[in-house]
Protein backbone atom coordinates (compact mmCIF):
# COMPACT_ATOMS: atom_id res chain seq x y z
CA UNK A 1 0.00 0.00 0.00
CA UNK A 2 2.76 2.43 1.04
CA UNK A 3 4.84 1.53 -1.97
CA UNK A 4 1.91 2.20 -4.29
CA UNK A 5 1.28 5.63 -2.75
CA UNK A 6 4.94 6.63 -3.04
CA UNK A 7 4.98 5.54 -6.69
CA UNK A 8 1.81 7.53 -7.50
CA UNK A 9 3.15 10.70 -5.82
CA UNK A 10 6.48 10.32 -7.67
CA UNK A 11 4.71 9.98 -11.03
CA UNK A 12 2.58 13.09 -10.31
CA UNK A 13 5.67 15.11 -9.31
CA UNK A 14 7.60 14.03 -12.41
CA UNK A 15 4.63 14.92 -14.65
CA UNK A 16 4.31 18.40 -13.07
CA UNK A 17 8.07 19.05 -13.44
CA UNK A 18 8.06 18.00 -17.12
CA UNK A 19 4.98 20.19 -17.79
CA UNK A 20 6.67 23.25 -16.27
CA UNK A 21 9.87 22.69 -18.28
CA UNK A 22 7.93 22.24 -21.52
CA UNK A 23 5.75 25.34 -20.87
CA UNK A 24 8.71 27.69 -20.26
CA UNK A 25 10.86 26.40 -23.07
CA UNK A 26 8.12 27.00 -25.71
CA UNK A 27 6.98 30.43 -24.49
CA UNK A 28 8.17 33.44 -26.67
CA UNK A 29 7.78 37.23 -26.24
CA UNK A 30 4.87 38.37 -28.47
CA UNK A 31 5.98 42.00 -29.09
CA UNK A 32 9.32 43.61 -30.05
CA UNK A 33 10.85 45.50 -27.16
CA UNK A 34 13.59 48.07 -26.71
CA UNK A 35 16.67 46.16 -25.60
CA UNK A 36 19.78 47.78 -24.24
CA UNK A 37 22.61 47.35 -26.78
CA UNK A 38 24.88 45.47 -24.40
CA UNK A 39 22.09 43.01 -23.51
CA UNK A 40 21.07 42.48 -27.15
CA UNK A 41 20.45 38.94 -28.12
CA UNK A 42 22.29 37.43 -31.02
CA UNK A 43 19.12 37.24 -33.11
CA UNK A 44 18.16 40.95 -32.93
CA UNK A 45 19.25 43.63 -35.42
CA UNK A 46 19.86 47.31 -34.76
CA UNK A 47 17.93 50.01 -36.65
CA UNK A 48 18.12 53.79 -36.49
CA UNK A 49 15.10 56.04 -36.27
CA UNK A 50 15.20 59.81 -36.76
CA UNK A 51 12.94 62.08 -34.79
CA UNK A 52 12.34 65.84 -35.32
CA UNK A 53 13.74 68.03 -32.59
CA UNK A 54 13.16 71.80 -33.01
CA UNK A 55 15.61 72.71 -35.79
CA UNK A 56 17.10 69.33 -36.56
CA UNK A 57 16.75 65.57 -36.31
CA UNK A 58 17.95 63.36 -33.50
CA UNK A 59 18.60 59.67 -33.98
CA UNK A 60 17.73 56.76 -31.73
CA UNK A 61 18.86 53.16 -32.02
CA UNK A 62 16.32 50.38 -31.71
CA UNK A 63 16.73 46.59 -31.67
CA UNK A 64 14.35 43.92 -32.71
CA UNK A 65 14.40 40.55 -34.37
CA UNK A 66 14.55 41.06 -38.09
CA UNK A 67 11.78 39.49 -40.12
CA UNK A 68 12.42 37.92 -43.49
CA UNK A 69 9.67 40.05 -44.99
CA UNK A 70 11.03 43.59 -45.45
CA UNK A 71 7.60 45.21 -45.23
CA UNK A 72 7.16 43.67 -41.75
CA UNK A 73 10.42 45.32 -40.69
CA UNK A 74 9.29 48.68 -42.10
CA UNK A 75 6.02 48.29 -40.22
CA UNK A 76 7.88 47.67 -36.95
CA UNK A 77 10.16 50.66 -37.51
CA UNK A 78 7.18 52.89 -38.27
CA UNK A 79 5.60 51.76 -34.98
CA UNK A 80 8.67 52.93 -33.07
CA UNK A 81 8.92 56.09 -35.19
CA UNK A 82 5.31 57.18 -34.58
CA UNK A 83 5.55 56.60 -30.81
CA UNK A 84 8.50 59.01 -30.66
CA UNK A 85 6.69 61.85 -32.49
CA UNK A 86 4.99 64.72 -30.64
CA UNK A 87 1.20 64.77 -30.24
CA UNK A 88 -1.02 64.54 -32.26
CA UNK A 89 1.28 62.71 -34.72
CA UNK A 90 2.13 59.98 -32.19
CA UNK A 91 -1.53 58.95 -32.30
CA UNK A 92 -1.27 58.24 -36.04
CA UNK A 93 -1.75 54.69 -37.27
CA UNK A 94 -0.35 52.91 -40.28
CA UNK A 95 -3.29 51.39 -42.15
CA UNK A 96 -1.28 49.84 -44.93
CA UNK A 97 2.13 49.47 -46.45
CA UNK A 98 2.75 48.67 -50.11
CA UNK A 99 5.77 48.33 -52.36
CA UNK A 100 5.67 48.70 -56.14
CA UNK A 101 8.00 47.22 -58.75
CA UNK A 102 10.12 50.40 -58.76
CA UNK A 103 10.73 50.04 -55.03
CA UNK A 104 8.53 52.96 -54.11
CA UNK A 105 6.98 52.46 -50.71
CA UNK A 106 3.39 53.60 -50.19
CA UNK A 107 2.52 54.27 -46.55
CA UNK A 108 -1.14 54.71 -45.73
CA UNK A 109 -1.39 56.77 -42.54
CA UNK A 110 -4.46 57.70 -40.55
CA UNK A 111 -5.73 61.29 -40.70
CA UNK A 112 -3.80 62.34 -37.58
CA UNK A 113 -0.59 62.27 -39.61
CA UNK A 114 -1.92 65.20 -41.66
CA UNK A 115 -2.56 67.44 -38.65
CA UNK A 116 -1.99 71.21 -38.96
CA UNK A 117 1.52 72.39 -38.18
CA UNK A 118 3.98 75.09 -39.16
CA UNK A 119 6.26 74.95 -42.19
CA UNK A 120 9.29 73.90 -40.15
CA UNK A 121 7.41 71.15 -38.29
CA UNK A 122 5.98 69.76 -41.50
CA UNK A 123 9.39 69.72 -43.14
CA UNK A 124 11.12 67.98 -40.23
CA UNK A 125 8.41 65.33 -39.82
CA UNK A 126 8.72 64.47 -43.52
CA UNK A 127 12.50 64.57 -43.38
CA UNK A 128 12.66 62.33 -40.30
CA UNK A 129 10.35 59.78 -41.95
CA UNK A 130 12.42 59.85 -45.12
CA UNK A 131 15.75 59.41 -43.35
CA UNK A 132 14.44 56.70 -41.06
CA UNK A 133 13.29 54.58 -43.98
CA UNK A 134 16.08 55.38 -46.45
CA UNK A 135 18.90 54.68 -44.01
CA UNK A 136 17.51 51.37 -42.81
CA UNK A 137 16.36 50.12 -46.20
CA UNK A 138 18.73 51.26 -48.91
CA UNK A 139 16.67 49.51 -51.58
CA UNK A 140 13.80 52.00 -51.12
CA UNK A 141 13.76 54.26 -54.14
CA UNK A 142 11.03 56.70 -53.14
CA UNK A 143 8.23 57.09 -50.62
CA UNK A 144 4.58 58.02 -51.20
CA UNK A 145 2.31 59.08 -48.38
CA UNK A 146 -1.38 58.27 -48.40
CA UNK A 147 -3.86 59.57 -45.87
CA UNK A 148 -6.85 57.33 -45.23
CA UNK A 149 -6.02 55.45 -48.42
CA UNK A 150 -5.96 58.54 -50.65
CA UNK A 151 -3.19 60.55 -52.24
CA UNK A 152 -3.03 64.06 -50.75
CA UNK A 153 -1.39 67.18 -52.16
CA UNK A 154 0.19 68.17 -48.88
CA UNK A 155 0.29 67.15 -45.22
CA UNK A 156 -0.10 70.59 -43.68
CA UNK A 157 -0.25 73.08 -46.55
CA UNK A 158 3.41 73.93 -47.15
CA UNK A 159 5.13 71.07 -48.96
CA UNK A 160 3.62 69.35 -51.98
CA UNK A 161 3.73 65.56 -51.85
CA UNK A 162 2.79 65.23 -55.51
CA UNK A 163 6.34 65.46 -56.75
CA UNK A 164 8.98 62.95 -55.73
CA UNK A 165 9.57 62.76 -51.98
CA UNK A 166 13.18 61.94 -52.70
CA UNK A 167 13.59 65.16 -54.70
CA UNK A 168 12.02 67.31 -51.98
CA UNK A 169 14.10 65.85 -49.19
CA UNK A 170 17.43 65.51 -50.91
CA UNK A 171 17.36 69.08 -52.28
CA UNK A 172 16.28 70.47 -48.94
Amino acid sequence: MNKKLILTISIILITITISIIVYFSFQKPDKPRFIEPNKAEQTTESFKIYIPSSNSLISKEIYFKEDEAQLKNIEKILEFFLIELPAPFKESKVFGLYRDKENTIYIDFSKKFASPQSMREEYFILKSLYRTLKENFVWINDIKILIDGKEVETLSGHISLQSSFKEIMEEG
Binding site: P116, Q117, S118, R120, Y123, E153, G157, H158, E171, G172
Partner: protein, 322 residues
Protein backbone atom coordinates in the same frame (compact mmCIF):
# COMPACT_ATOMS: atom_id res chain seq x y z
CA UNK B 1 5.57 76.55 -130.33
CA UNK B 2 8.54 75.65 -128.10
CA UNK B 3 10.23 78.92 -128.98
CA UNK B 4 7.08 80.85 -128.06
CA UNK B 5 6.80 79.06 -124.69
CA UNK B 6 10.47 79.73 -123.82
CA UNK B 7 10.02 83.39 -124.76
CA UNK B 8 6.92 83.61 -122.56
CA UNK B 9 8.71 82.04 -119.57
CA UNK B 10 11.69 84.35 -120.07
CA UNK B 11 9.34 87.33 -120.24
CA UNK B 12 7.51 86.36 -117.05
CA UNK B 13 10.77 85.77 -115.14
CA UNK B 14 12.30 89.02 -116.32
CA UNK B 15 9.23 91.04 -115.29
CA UNK B 16 9.29 89.40 -111.83
CA UNK B 17 12.96 90.30 -111.37
CA UNK B 18 12.25 93.78 -112.60
CA UNK B 19 9.30 94.07 -110.22
CA UNK B 20 11.45 92.90 -107.28
CA UNK B 21 14.08 95.50 -108.02
CA UNK B 22 11.41 98.14 -108.27
CA UNK B 23 10.10 97.78 -104.65
CA UNK B 24 10.65 100.98 -102.72
CA UNK B 25 13.30 100.64 -100.01
CA UNK B 26 13.21 102.88 -96.96
CA UNK B 27 15.98 102.90 -94.38
CA UNK B 28 14.80 103.15 -90.79
CA UNK B 29 16.80 104.40 -87.81
CA UNK B 30 15.85 104.70 -84.15
CA UNK B 31 17.34 106.64 -81.27
CA UNK B 32 16.07 106.84 -77.69
CA UNK B 33 16.54 110.03 -75.73
CA UNK B 34 15.51 111.03 -72.21
CA UNK B 35 11.90 111.82 -73.06
CA UNK B 36 11.52 111.06 -76.74
CA UNK B 37 12.31 108.59 -79.47
CA UNK B 38 13.71 109.83 -82.78
CA UNK B 39 12.57 107.79 -85.76
CA UNK B 40 14.29 108.54 -89.08
CA UNK B 41 13.11 107.30 -92.50
CA UNK B 42 15.56 107.76 -95.39
CA UNK B 43 14.46 107.36 -98.98
CA UNK B 44 16.13 108.39 -102.23
CA UNK B 45 12.88 109.46 -103.87
CA UNK B 46 11.82 112.96 -102.70
CA UNK B 47 8.18 112.57 -103.76
CA UNK B 48 7.86 109.62 -101.37
CA UNK B 49 9.28 111.48 -98.37
CA UNK B 50 6.95 114.40 -99.06
CA UNK B 51 3.86 112.23 -99.33
CA UNK B 52 4.28 109.98 -96.26
CA UNK B 53 1.31 110.49 -93.99
CA UNK B 54 2.14 110.33 -90.23
CA UNK B 55 -0.58 109.89 -87.59
CA UNK B 56 -0.51 109.53 -83.82
CA UNK B 57 -3.26 107.06 -82.95
CA UNK B 58 -5.41 107.26 -79.80
CA UNK B 59 -3.61 104.30 -78.24
CA UNK B 60 -0.24 106.08 -78.47
CA UNK B 61 0.97 104.20 -81.56
CA UNK B 62 2.41 105.94 -84.62
CA UNK B 63 1.03 105.02 -88.03
CA UNK B 64 2.84 105.87 -91.28
CA UNK B 65 1.05 105.53 -94.62
CA UNK B 66 3.20 105.46 -97.75
CA UNK B 67 1.96 106.30 -101.25
CA UNK B 68 3.08 102.91 -102.51
CA UNK B 69 4.26 99.54 -101.27
CA UNK B 70 7.69 99.55 -99.67
CA UNK B 71 10.24 97.60 -97.67
CA UNK B 72 11.84 98.81 -94.46
CA UNK B 73 15.50 98.17 -93.86
CA UNK B 74 16.89 98.39 -90.34
CA UNK B 75 20.58 97.88 -89.60
CA UNK B 76 21.10 95.92 -92.81
CA UNK B 77 18.06 93.63 -92.50
CA UNK B 78 14.54 93.85 -93.87
CA UNK B 79 11.84 94.11 -91.23
CA UNK B 80 9.13 91.45 -91.34
CA UNK B 81 5.40 92.10 -91.08
CA UNK B 82 5.74 91.98 -87.29
CA UNK B 83 9.12 92.74 -85.84
CA UNK B 84 10.94 93.95 -82.75
CA UNK B 85 13.59 96.63 -82.44
CA UNK B 86 14.87 96.95 -78.86
CA UNK B 87 11.76 97.87 -76.83
CA UNK B 88 9.72 98.77 -79.93
CA UNK B 89 7.31 96.62 -81.86
CA UNK B 90 6.71 97.28 -85.53
CA UNK B 91 3.69 96.05 -87.47
CA UNK B 92 2.83 96.15 -91.19
CA UNK B 93 -0.94 96.08 -91.60
CA UNK B 94 -0.50 96.00 -95.37
CA UNK B 95 2.21 96.84 -97.88
CA UNK B 96 1.59 100.60 -97.57
CA UNK B 97 1.46 101.07 -93.80
CA UNK B 98 3.94 100.85 -90.98
CA UNK B 99 2.98 101.05 -87.29
CA UNK B 100 5.37 101.69 -84.42
CA UNK B 101 4.24 100.47 -81.03
CA UNK B 102 6.01 101.52 -77.86
CA UNK B 103 5.30 102.97 -74.42
CA UNK B 104 2.45 105.42 -74.83
CA UNK B 105 3.51 108.34 -77.03
CA UNK B 106 1.89 111.60 -76.04
CA UNK B 107 3.04 113.95 -78.80
CA UNK B 108 4.93 113.80 -82.09
CA UNK B 109 6.86 116.32 -84.18
CA UNK B 110 7.33 115.52 -87.86
CA UNK B 111 10.20 117.15 -89.77
CA UNK B 112 11.64 116.72 -93.24
CA UNK B 113 15.31 117.25 -93.97
CA UNK B 114 17.47 117.11 -97.05
CA UNK B 115 20.91 115.72 -97.74
CA UNK B 116 20.19 112.94 -97.26
CA UNK B 117 16.50 113.30 -97.87
CA UNK B 118 14.74 112.04 -94.74
CA UNK B 119 11.63 112.15 -92.63
CA UNK B 120 12.26 112.64 -88.91
CA UNK B 121 9.66 111.92 -86.25
CA UNK B 122 10.33 112.94 -82.65
CA UNK B 123 7.89 110.97 -80.48
CA UNK B 124 7.59 112.27 -76.92
CA UNK B 125 6.69 110.09 -73.97
CA UNK B 126 6.39 111.03 -70.32
CA UNK B 127 9.52 110.06 -68.42
CA UNK B 128 8.52 108.61 -65.06
CA UNK B 129 10.58 109.42 -62.02
CA UNK B 130 11.92 106.41 -60.08
CA UNK B 131 9.32 106.83 -57.31
CA UNK B 132 6.45 106.68 -59.78
CA UNK B 133 7.76 103.53 -61.38
CA UNK B 134 6.78 101.72 -58.18
CA UNK B 135 3.22 101.97 -59.51
CA UNK B 136 4.09 99.72 -62.41
CA UNK B 137 5.03 96.76 -60.28
CA UNK B 138 2.91 94.06 -58.78
CA UNK B 139 3.04 92.07 -55.57
CA UNK B 140 1.44 88.68 -55.31
CA UNK B 141 0.28 87.98 -51.76
CA UNK B 142 -0.41 84.38 -50.87
CA UNK B 143 -2.51 83.85 -47.74
CA UNK B 144 -1.68 80.26 -46.77
CA UNK B 145 -4.17 77.39 -46.34
CA UNK B 146 -7.94 77.94 -46.88
CA UNK B 147 -11.07 75.84 -47.20
CA UNK B 148 -10.73 72.46 -45.46
CA UNK B 149 -7.09 73.21 -44.70
CA UNK B 150 -7.47 75.35 -41.59
CA UNK B 151 -3.79 75.68 -40.77
CA UNK B 152 -2.85 76.05 -37.09
CA UNK B 153 -5.85 76.31 -34.76
CA UNK B 154 -6.40 77.99 -31.40
CA UNK B 155 -9.84 77.70 -29.78
CA UNK B 156 -12.23 78.85 -32.51
CA UNK B 157 -9.57 80.76 -34.49
CA UNK B 158 -7.86 79.36 -37.57
CA UNK B 159 -4.63 80.32 -39.29
CA UNK B 160 -6.42 80.45 -42.67
CA UNK B 161 -8.68 83.32 -41.46
CA UNK B 162 -5.93 85.34 -39.78
CA UNK B 163 -3.60 85.24 -42.79
CA UNK B 164 -6.49 86.11 -45.12
CA UNK B 165 -7.30 89.14 -42.97
CA UNK B 166 -3.65 90.27 -43.02
CA UNK B 167 -3.37 89.67 -46.78
CA UNK B 168 -6.51 91.65 -47.57
CA UNK B 169 -5.48 94.56 -45.34
CA UNK B 170 -2.03 94.52 -46.89
CA UNK B 171 -3.42 94.46 -50.43
CA UNK B 172 -5.76 97.34 -49.67
CA UNK B 173 -2.99 99.49 -48.17
CA UNK B 174 -0.57 98.72 -51.01
CA UNK B 175 -3.23 99.52 -53.63
CA UNK B 176 -3.82 102.88 -51.94
CA UNK B 177 -0.12 103.55 -52.43
CA UNK B 178 -0.52 102.78 -56.14
CA UNK B 179 1.21 99.39 -55.96
CA UNK B 180 -0.59 96.78 -58.01
CA UNK B 181 -1.35 93.89 -55.67
CA UNK B 182 -2.98 90.55 -56.34
CA UNK B 183 -4.04 87.80 -53.91
CA UNK B 184 -3.84 84.06 -54.60
CA UNK B 185 -7.12 83.72 -52.69
CA UNK B 186 -9.52 86.41 -51.51
CA UNK B 187 -11.98 84.23 -49.62
CA UNK B 188 -12.07 81.05 -47.55
CA UNK B 189 -11.49 78.76 -50.51
CA UNK B 190 -9.17 75.83 -51.05
CA UNK B 191 -6.40 76.79 -53.48
CA UNK B 192 -3.89 74.03 -54.13
CA UNK B 193 -0.16 74.69 -53.98
CA UNK B 194 -0.04 73.85 -57.72
CA UNK B 195 -2.68 76.51 -58.45
CA UNK B 196 -0.80 79.11 -56.39
CA UNK B 197 2.32 78.42 -58.45
CA UNK B 198 0.32 78.70 -61.68
CA UNK B 199 -0.98 82.14 -60.63
CA UNK B 200 2.55 83.25 -59.79
CA UNK B 201 3.97 81.95 -63.08
CA UNK B 202 1.21 83.71 -65.03
CA UNK B 203 1.49 87.10 -63.29
CA UNK B 204 5.27 87.14 -62.83
CA UNK B 205 5.10 89.69 -59.97
CA UNK B 206 8.15 91.51 -58.69
CA UNK B 207 7.72 89.85 -55.31
CA UNK B 208 5.79 86.79 -54.17
CA UNK B 209 4.91 86.93 -50.49
CA UNK B 210 3.36 83.92 -48.79
CA UNK B 211 1.90 84.61 -45.35
CA UNK B 212 1.55 81.93 -42.67
CA UNK B 213 1.51 81.66 -38.88
CA UNK B 214 4.31 80.27 -36.78
CA UNK B 215 3.69 77.69 -34.08
CA UNK B 216 6.01 79.73 -31.86
CA UNK B 217 6.14 83.35 -30.74
CA UNK B 218 8.58 84.39 -33.44
CA UNK B 219 8.79 85.71 -36.96
CA UNK B 220 10.36 83.31 -39.43
CA UNK B 221 11.34 84.31 -42.96
CA UNK B 222 11.78 81.37 -45.32
CA UNK B 223 13.36 81.20 -48.74
CA UNK B 224 13.99 78.10 -50.79
CA UNK B 225 17.47 76.51 -50.81
CA UNK B 226 16.95 75.64 -54.50
CA UNK B 227 14.68 76.70 -57.37
CA UNK B 228 13.08 74.45 -59.94
CA UNK B 229 13.46 74.99 -63.71
CA UNK B 230 15.34 78.30 -63.50
CA UNK B 231 18.43 79.10 -65.57
CA UNK B 232 21.62 79.92 -63.66
CA UNK B 233 21.68 83.50 -64.90
CA UNK B 234 18.09 84.14 -63.87
CA UNK B 235 18.60 82.34 -60.58
CA UNK B 236 21.41 84.63 -59.47
CA UNK B 237 19.20 87.69 -60.14
CA UNK B 238 16.28 86.16 -58.24
CA UNK B 239 18.47 85.25 -55.27
CA UNK B 240 19.98 88.73 -55.21
CA UNK B 241 16.53 90.30 -55.13
CA UNK B 242 15.36 87.82 -52.49
CA UNK B 243 18.32 88.72 -50.30
CA UNK B 244 17.63 92.43 -50.69
CA UNK B 245 13.98 91.92 -49.75
CA UNK B 246 14.93 89.78 -46.73
CA UNK B 247 17.34 92.41 -45.42
CA UNK B 248 14.64 95.07 -45.50
CA UNK B 249 12.10 92.76 -43.85
CA UNK B 250 14.57 91.83 -41.11
CA UNK B 251 15.45 95.45 -40.36
CA UNK B 252 11.85 96.66 -40.33
CA UNK B 253 10.50 93.74 -38.27
CA UNK B 254 13.37 93.95 -35.76
CA UNK B 255 12.85 97.65 -35.16
CA UNK B 256 9.05 97.30 -34.88
CA UNK B 257 8.47 94.08 -32.89
CA UNK B 258 10.03 92.58 -29.74
CA UNK B 259 9.54 88.98 -30.94
CA UNK B 260 12.63 87.07 -32.11
CA UNK B 261 13.14 86.76 -35.84
CA UNK B 262 14.70 83.84 -37.68
CA UNK B 263 15.66 83.30 -41.26
CA UNK B 264 15.69 79.83 -42.73
CA UNK B 265 16.03 78.05 -46.06
CA UNK B 266 13.47 75.27 -46.49
CA UNK B 267 11.91 73.90 -49.69
CA UNK B 268 8.31 75.11 -49.32
CA UNK B 269 6.69 74.31 -52.66
CA UNK B 270 5.52 77.86 -53.45
CA UNK B 271 9.06 79.13 -52.87
CA UNK B 272 10.88 76.34 -54.64
CA UNK B 273 8.79 76.47 -57.79
CA UNK B 274 8.56 80.24 -57.96
CA UNK B 275 10.17 81.99 -60.93
CA UNK B 276 10.39 85.35 -59.14
CA UNK B 277 11.83 86.46 -55.78
CA UNK B 278 9.66 84.67 -53.23
CA UNK B 279 9.46 84.80 -49.44
CA UNK B 280 7.33 83.01 -46.90
CA UNK B 281 6.81 84.86 -43.64
CA UNK B 282 5.47 83.17 -40.55
CA UNK B 283 3.91 85.53 -38.05
CA UNK B 284 4.06 84.88 -34.27
CA UNK B 285 1.20 82.68 -33.10
CA UNK B 286 -0.16 85.42 -30.83
CA UNK B 287 -1.79 86.69 -34.03
CA UNK B 288 -4.28 83.84 -33.48
CA UNK B 289 -6.01 85.78 -30.70
CA UNK B 290 -7.05 88.21 -33.46
CA UNK B 291 -5.84 91.40 -31.78
CA UNK B 292 -6.60 93.86 -34.58
CA UNK B 293 -4.07 96.44 -33.34
CA UNK B 294 -1.34 93.83 -33.57
CA UNK B 295 -2.46 92.60 -37.00
CA UNK B 296 -2.70 96.17 -38.34
CA UNK B 297 0.77 96.93 -37.02
CA UNK B 298 2.04 93.90 -38.92
CA UNK B 299 0.38 95.02 -42.17
CA UNK B 300 1.71 98.58 -41.74
CA UNK B 301 5.26 97.28 -41.32
CA UNK B 302 4.82 95.00 -44.35
CA UNK B 303 3.57 97.95 -46.43
CA UNK B 304 6.60 100.05 -45.47
CA UNK B 305 8.91 97.13 -46.21
CA UNK B 306 7.42 96.37 -49.62
CA UNK B 307 7.41 100.05 -50.56
CA UNK B 308 11.05 100.42 -49.60
CA UNK B 309 11.96 97.23 -51.45
CA UNK B 310 10.23 98.37 -54.65
CA UNK B 311 11.75 101.84 -54.53
CA UNK B 312 15.18 100.30 -54.05
CA UNK B 313 14.55 98.01 -57.00
CA UNK B 314 13.36 100.88 -59.21
CA UNK B 315 16.50 102.85 -58.35
CA UNK B 316 18.80 99.93 -59.11
CA UNK B 317 16.95 99.20 -62.39
CA UNK B 318 17.35 102.83 -63.39
CA UNK B 319 21.06 102.78 -62.52
CA UNK B 320 21.49 99.58 -64.57
CA UNK B 321 19.72 101.13 -67.57
CA UNK B 322 21.94 104.20 -67.40
Amino acid sequence: MIKKTICLIFFVLSTTVYAQDDVLKVTFRVGKHQNFYRFVFICERPEIIHSINVNLLNNGKIKLTFPESFEIEFEGRLLSMQDRIKDLKTVRQNLNTFIIETSKIQQIKVLKYEDPLRLVIDAYFEEQPAEEKVKMVSILIDPGHGGKDTGIQFKDKNEKDIVLYIAKELASKLTQKGIITVLTRASDEEVSLRERIKIENRLKPLLFLSIHLSSAESFIIYTSPAKKNISKEKLSKILLNENKAIKIFINKLKESFPEPLYQEKLPATVLKESSVPALMIEIPKRALIFDKDYLNKITDVFVQTIEQNLKQKARSDKANNE
